[in-house]
């Protein structure tokens, strides 16, 4: 019964977005709105000795100027949800008061009648700074020297050791131990739509509404209520269209609380739309790990142990999950291999930079990069084909659920099948021959393989800081239309389409009769949000089970109306049938015209459902009967809706193989893709087009990390890559064609067998690309090269040798 699930259904949200008719925060215009602009620190570390706002205050149009000193503790600290033992947590308020800790640190907020006046007045605020010693490099920060937060004495925010197995013994008894320093550079998430907040306080109703471009409307509401001190049920968070997040909007920012608070002070709507420069400097960054790996192996390529000592560059403050990201790295350090002993030693350090936090993959790309580089290092050391090393260390399909030395249970997997398919699609054996021939001709070609596994469907509540379930309400309206309320508020993923596909199939209605509502805490029951590749596997499952519940009730009503025993009533896509005769109408053909109640002028009474003599009732008949409630089974609640909160019993573990083939210009070091082949397994697929889109976007961001992107601060902590003229995100013309394919290994963690795919591309592709470049340079004795791999660095390698 799947007319829609599994099909390449076009995104129903696209027409409005393409036509420019969608509503992002900035498209919401309320009368009398005031506009906020921020003064942000131009120094990475300084004491504020004086702030003079008088000139700014006297500027025409300026209504108010707030500084950190004005705020004091009126707004609670920006929350950090990571609970780690002995974690040092600096007091983080929306505005700096005595000191600034990074370039972009907000110092003052100007409120004015328009954006221009607000921005102009920012330049009129006089700040006296006394510059302090700056620490930028995380390894330097860990050693001592300049200290970010004086009161902690040093820069180490926490230390953490995790993993199982006797790593010392494993490394001591290994035939070979390979060591490598590995950098996972800082990246900027760069959502197309920057952050934005509109807040409106209604003094009469005592209600505050906050429109924010966020991935987590409900969690944001709870946190803002605590920060601002307004009852949670008087605070409404609305998340309109969100133009991307990639984790950067899985957060609670000081600006969100401050805008709400200012609106309460002034009794007017206030709006702030982040500029791209602010976005580069003051929205969280991702990655930022520099680590040292030791991998032990036997001469046959069996990996026996892996240690990763890592310095995590946290930045100056903790945002929502900052210190927790490296713990995800630790969890995923087994990759898709049987490694008996694994240890991660994290040193989380403060630096005078913007906080790092979740960016597409959030700790897992770092892990996969480490493991996949390690696998290639083992292959290079032993003179084995990288594919063979991987094969040798895979758990077999019958070993699932598979327990790792990092404490996880991988639900299901068939790593070899995905690998074989990718090798076949790429024609790997022939590629290797071509590579040999090319080398003989003096060309430099590299083939990089990465076999990855990732952790998705976050997650069982036990393992999540703020609950890991997801919610759905499914309602059949009196006219038979279907309304879904999901707590998994999307930011570009397409849940309005994919959830409607699920509902249309399960309810036997047309997809056009289903509306998916999200992102309004006053309409939608509490939800967790969209991140961690969880929306379909957890949120979609909630929809699926809510529908099952709803159908159980509908079934009872049908049996009652058809005056039959419930066991005699059978569901098919046309409705509830008295006799199990398969109907001839095509599945999901939609609502038969005649069954639609006509003449619904406001106040008109609804028609009676026509039941007499029928042997079959459509869902619409039943919805109407349930709504009119004139003839329901005894003690049955009227209405036809169901709400379900789904708690997953485990994570899911999608996997796959990515193969990159690159050619290097031997004269210039420039890197060109020849081909890119990927086979991803995300369990059952609801919409192949959406899955392809997620994989493609993920690979693009991986290409960005591997070859182009890096947030660079200089020694003074100045942000060198503060605009898109300096920070290189890959453009369409810089990309290869992606040859995508899939295997499908369902999970039993949820009834639909879906796993998640939002981050797979980023996770799988980064090491494939780097492995390809390193493979290309292997004749020059190269075993590793740090990202982003710039042509100049490649040129130096080739040039020095030839």
């Amino acid at each position: 019964m799947s007319k829609f699930v599994g099909q390449r259904v076009k995104r129903t949200e696209d027409p409005r977005l393409i036509k420019g008719l969608g509503h992002y925060v900035d498209d919401i215009r309320l009368p009398d709105t005031l506009h906020v602009a921020f003064l942000r620190s131009m120094y990475a570390h300084a004491r504020i000795t004086n702030i003079d706002v008088s000139e700014a205050m006297n500027t025409p149009g300026v209504v108010a100027v707030y500084t950190g000193r004005d705020l004091g503790e009126k707004i609670g600290p920006v929350p950090c949800a990571a609970a780690l033992p002995d974690l040092k947590v600096p007091d983080h308020r929306p505005l700096a008061s005595d000191k600034v800790y990074f370039v972009g640190h907000p110092i003052a907020a100007v409120v004015a009648t328009d954006r221009y006046a607000a921005r102009d007045a920012v330049d009129l605020i006089m700040v006296d700074y006394e510059e302090l010693a700056v620490v930028v490099d995380p390894e330097e920060a860990a050693k001592g020297g300049a200290v970010v937060h004086e009161k902690f004495g040093d820069n180490v925010a926490y230390k953490l050791t995790a993993g199982e197995g006797d790593i010392d013994a494993a490394l001591a008894s290994a035939d070979k131990v390979i060591k490598q320093r590995i950098l996972n550079q800082r990246l900027a998430p760069i959502a197309m739509e920057p952050r934005g907040v509109l807040a409106r306080y209604l003094p009469g109703e005592e209600e505050l509404t906050v429109w924010s471009s966020t991935q987590i409307p409900h969690l944001l509401r709870t946190q803002l209520a605590l920060m601002i001190g307004i009852p949670e049920n008087k605070l409404r968070v609305i998340t309109p269209e969100v133009g991307g997040g990639f984790g950067s909007k899985l957060n609670v920012y000081g600006e969100e609380a401050l805008l709400g608070w200012i609106s309460m002070q002034l009794g007017k709507p206030v709006k702030w739309i982040e500029t791209r420069r602010e976005n580069m400097a003051s929205t969280i960054h991702g990655r930022g790990q520099v680590g040292y790996i030791e991998v032990g192996c036997r001469n046959d390529g069996t990996i026996t142990g892996l240690r990763y000592n890592v310095f995590a560059d946290l930045g100056a403050y903790h945002q929502l999950l900052t210190p927790a990201i490296p713990t995800l790295t630790g969890l995923m350090l087994s990759g898709c291999y049987k490694i008996p002993a694994i240890q991660i030693n994290v040193t989380g350090v403060f630096t005078n930079k913007m906080a790092t936090d979740a960016y597409r993959g959030a700790g897992r790309p770092e892990a996969t990069y480490v493991v996949e580089r390690a696998a290639d290092l083992v292959a290079a050391e032993l003179g084995l084909d990288p594919v063979e090393v991987r094969r040798r260390n895979f758990p077999k399909p019958d070993e699932f659920p598979f327990k790792t030395a990092t404490g996880l249970f991988y639900d299901s997997g068939n790593y070899e099948a995905a690998l074989d398919k990718a090798l076949q699609n790429a024609d790997y054996a022939r590629l290797r021959e071509e590579q040999k021939r090319a080398r003989d001709e003096g060309r430099i070609i590299g083939i990089g393989v990465s076999t990855y596994v990732e952790i998705c469907a976050l997650g069982p509540s036990q393992a999540m800081p703020a609950g890991g379930w997801e919610s759905a309400t499914v309602r059949i309206e009196p006219t038979g239309k279907v309304t879904i309320l999901t707590g998994a508020s999307p930011h570009g993923q397409g849940q309005e389409t994919s959830f409607a596909q699920i509902a249309a199939d399960e309810l036997g209605v047309d997809i056009g009769d289903v509306t998916v509502i999200h992102g309004d805490t006053s309409i939608v029951q509490y939800g967790i949000g969209t991140f961690g590749s969880r929306a379909t596997a957890v949120g979609g499952t909630a929809v699926y089970i809510a529908i099952e519940r709803l159908k159980e009730k509908a079934n009872k009503i049908a049996a009652h109306l058809l005056q039959a025993d419930i066991s005699k009533v059978v569901w098919d896509e046309n409705g509830f049938n008295l006799e199990p005769e398969p109907a001839k109408v095509a599945a999901g053909a939609g609502v038969p015209e005649a069954d639609l109640p006509a003449g619904q002028a406001p106040g008109a009474s609804l028609p009676e459902p026509q039941i007499e003599g029928k042997k079959s009732l459509s869902l619409q008949d039943i919805a109407l009967a349930a709504h009119l409630a004139k003839d329901l089974p005894p003690d049955m609640e009227p209405g036809l809706s169901a709400t379900y909160f789904f708690e997953p019993k485990n994570f899911t573990f999608p996997f796959g193989t990515h193969i990159a083939i690159v050619e290097i210009d031997r004269e210039t070091g420039e890197i060109k893709f020849q081909r890119y082949v990927a086979v991803d397994d995300c369990g059952k697929v609801i919409n192949p087009m959406l899955v392809d889109g997620q994989v493609q976007g993920g690979i693009v961001q991986a290409i960005g990390q591997a070859l182009y992107e890096e947030v660079v601060y200089d020694e003074q902590g100045q942000l060198v890559t503060g605009t898109l003229m300096d920070y290189a995100v890959p453009k369409a013309a810089m990309l290869p064609w992606f040859e995508l394919d899939r295997t499908e290994t369902p999970t039993d963690v949820n009834p639909m067998g879906v796993k998640g795919v939002g981050e797979a591309g980023t996770i799988g592709a980064t090491p494939a690309i780097v492995n390809a470049v390193v493979d290309a340079l292997s004749p020059y004795g190269i075993r590793h090269i740090d990202m982003p791999i710039k042509p100049e660095n490649v040129w130096k390698i080739v040039n020095q040798q030839s």
Binding site: D120, L707, P791, E792, W795
Partner: protein
């Protein structure tokens, strides 16, 4: 990303524009395609109090031929040049260079006059204009004057245009028979501007030797320049591989090369050499 307050006028004639510019010299800026000026204003790096929009002046966007000259109006967009079938035939360097600029949106709005007047050290046009030995026609309150391309680029973001002068037209000598042209560029992955951009305009004599060679190079130094040592190493010589390679080795002679996040000075010089060789080869392959 919010500019300071400014006034805006859109004069109907060039004279009117020249008069306004003379009147407001210090605080006014001409607005052409806006694709360099507006970003600078949004970052508050440029803070003009008056924008004189020359986009409404009739007949500033054209490509014509007069005698042995190609004449291009200053307001001609990159795209108009890129799409000109006639130019592809008679002076392919111009459309090739245009096509390498930014993306479709940029090429649809940005103008050749704006780019030249702006004189970004990594802009593409200056290389082509130098290689073509073009002339700029500037209009000021005192009338018109002609500036040779060689004399036009003074320094980073500085030209020999007076503050009250408007670039009206670019005049390009019609390439002779047996002229080989090409533009090649290494684009900076963030900005798309030239890390190096090489414009080649050379003529082969009937004897198969290089009669004259003009090589314009952008992106490498504070301003675009003519690679005169490359040119002299080619002139009068056979256009074989060795000669070209030996000539190209002089691409960055005497140049104080830029360095940035993407490319050090050494690497830039090296790229200049490699791409000079490739661009020459690409050009003569068309003959």
């Amino acid at each position: 990303m919010i500019p300071v307050q400014f006034d805006y006028v859109a004069p109907a004639t060039l004279d009117e524009a020249a008069r306004l510019l003379a009147e407001h010299q210090d605080e006014a800026k001409l607005l052409a395609g806006g694709h360099s000026l507006i970003p600078a204003m949004k970052l508050r790096l440029a803070q003009p109090s008056l924008l004189i929009d020359i986009g409404r002046i009739k007949d500033l966007a054209y490509i014509t031929e007069e005698g042995d000259q190609i004449r291009i109006g200053a307001m001609t967009t990159h795209y108009q040049i890129e799409a000109s079938e006639r130019l592809k035939e008679i002076c392919p360097l111009l459309p090739e260079c245009a096509a390498s600029i930014g993306d479709v949106q940029v090429r649809n709005k940005g103008t050749i006059g704006g780019s030249l007047a702006h004189a970004d050290p990594a802009a593409d046009w200056p290389a082509a204009i130098l290689a073509l030995d073009a002339e700029m026609i500037a209009v000021g309150a005192q009338g018109e004057r002609t500036i040779r391309a060689q004399d036009f680029f003074v320094d980073m973001l500085t030209t020999s245009l007076e503050p009250n002068e408007i670039l009206r037209e670019i005049r390009v000598p019609q390439p002779q028979k047996n002229t080989a042209q090409a533009y090649m560029k290494v684009a900076q992955p963030a900005s798309g501007f030239a890390v190096v951009g090489i414009a080649v305009n050379l003529t082969r004599g009937d004897d198969g030797r290089c009669q004259s060679a003009n090589i314009g190079i952008t992106g490498v130094a504070a301003k675009a320049y003519r690679a005169s040592n490359v040119e002299s190493a080619l002139a009068g010589n056979a256009l074989d591989e060795q000669t070209i390679a030996a000539a190209a080795a002089h691409a960055a002679d005497g140049v104080d090369a830029n360095s940035d996040l993407y490319a050090s000075a050494d690497y830039r010089r090296h790229l200049a050499e490699v791409y000079t060789r490739r661009a020459i080869q690409k050009a003569i392959a068309k003959l």
